[in-house]
Amino acid sequence: MSWKLSYNLFRLRQKAGPTKQFRSALRYKLSEHYDSLYPVSKAFAWRLMVMRYGVMAVVVLLVAASIGTGAYAYDNPGVNEASLLYPVKKTIEKVQGKLVQGSVAKANFQLKQMQRRQAEIDRLQAEQKQFEKTIEEFNQAEEAVLANTDNVTSEDERGIMIQKVTEANLAHLQKLQDVKDELPSELQPRLEKVITAQSERMEKKLDNLQDKQDKFLEKQLEKLEQAEDWVNKQQEKIMEIKERVEINKEEKQINQLPANRQKGDQGRARQDKNKN
């Protein structure tokens, strides 16, 4: 099977799929439509009451937890644009900004904001380096698998290994795509570049693999043809030997006969041999 063909069809399938935004929007719309079609009846209202008190208790707990969460979000440079807690962080900063009075205090507050943004940038850059390093390690591991696969002599096992590598690459691209869809729109172009680079790398790999596979198969075919030739030659030799054995047998039988019969039989044996 051609992995490049599977990969190209996979790409078309991906491109023709719904976006994550559409997926969530439709899910929400269908949920609302469901609620409008099947509103909760009065018979279950008492359950709602019980649930409401339960929900209130949960909300109180959540508020208590959010205070801790807010502190975590505010202080942590790891909470950046891509983080779920980033809106919490920005809200706290906004509130703080409004509470600060006086030009000097405001200037100091803004300076602190600059330092906080720089810390986020530093953290993002470190994460970016880690991300790029992890991608590089993934690529190195793939190279190692393919290098070992070259040494596999069984065509079937080799084909299975290459198929597994291709599937791992496709899953990797899918995962990168999913991560990209989760990112804010300003950060998506960066990951898109990585996805494009990985896709191009994979296409080249598939081209090389297809060439190598073709050469490998040609070699195997050559060996097979040589083996067939050898077998045919051996069979011819065996036939020759058999014929000689048959002739020798007949001559032996003739030699054991009385002398006058020998001449006649030898003559007939020679005639038969000449006919054949």
């Binding site: 099977m1 078309l12 023709a16 719904p18 439709l26 949920s31």
Partner: protein, 172 residues
């Protein structure tokens, strides 16, 4: 009707139905989204009639097909029969305004255009199999259910078509 069950149904079938619609509306994303929304709202309203044991995918596939047919008929954008809707891999839809053809935007690489051309050259029954499996993402069980053959036969048939595609690509 169980909301969670419908949600699960939605997650299982959204991608495939969306792609089915996408190719039949000239690869125009906005139109595909609108029609897919309408299809799933219809499915939700009639979900009580859905029997998973009788048909996993055929039910919503039929809704999608009929909805598309009604859309083309009502909007008079394209004259098309129900059979043509099934048989075509792609249907060009006239657009108002400055839109270029959706397909030109969709197929950006030479390899994609080449593959697309060869897919269109395949006989309808072969094209349907490879489209269901590799473009829409249906499983062999679902393909078997939709085409009336066993999953095993579907697998063999798809494999043969892929070999056929590969040999056509190699000769180009």
């Amino acid at each position: 009707m169980d909301k969670k069950k419908f949600e699960q149904f939605y997650h299982e079938h959204l991608d495939k139905i969306y792609r089915f619609v996408f190719f039949r509306v000239g690869a125009k994303r906005e139109l595909a989204e609108d029609l897919t929304t309408e299809i799933f709202i219809k499915a939700l309203e009639h979900f009580g009639k859905y029997d998973e044991n009788k048909s996993k995918s055929a039910w919503i596939f039929t809704i999608a097909r009929n909805h598309l047919y009604n859309h083309f008929r009502d909007n008079r954008r394209v004259e098309i029969s129900l059979e043509a809707l099934d048989e075509s891999l792609y249907i060009e839809v006239e657009s108002q305004g400055q839109d270029s053809t959706g397909l030109a935007d969709f197929l950006q690489k030479d390899s994609e255009r080449e593959l697309w051309a060869i897919l269109n050259e395949l006989p309808e029954d072969k094209r349907k199999l490879v489209t269901l499996k590799h473009l829409y993402g249906y499983s062999y069980d679902e393909i078997g259910e939709m085409t009336g053959i066993s999953p095993g036969a579907a697998k063999v048939a798809v494999h043969r078509v892929m070999k056929d595609l590969q040999s056509k690509l190699s000769t180009k």
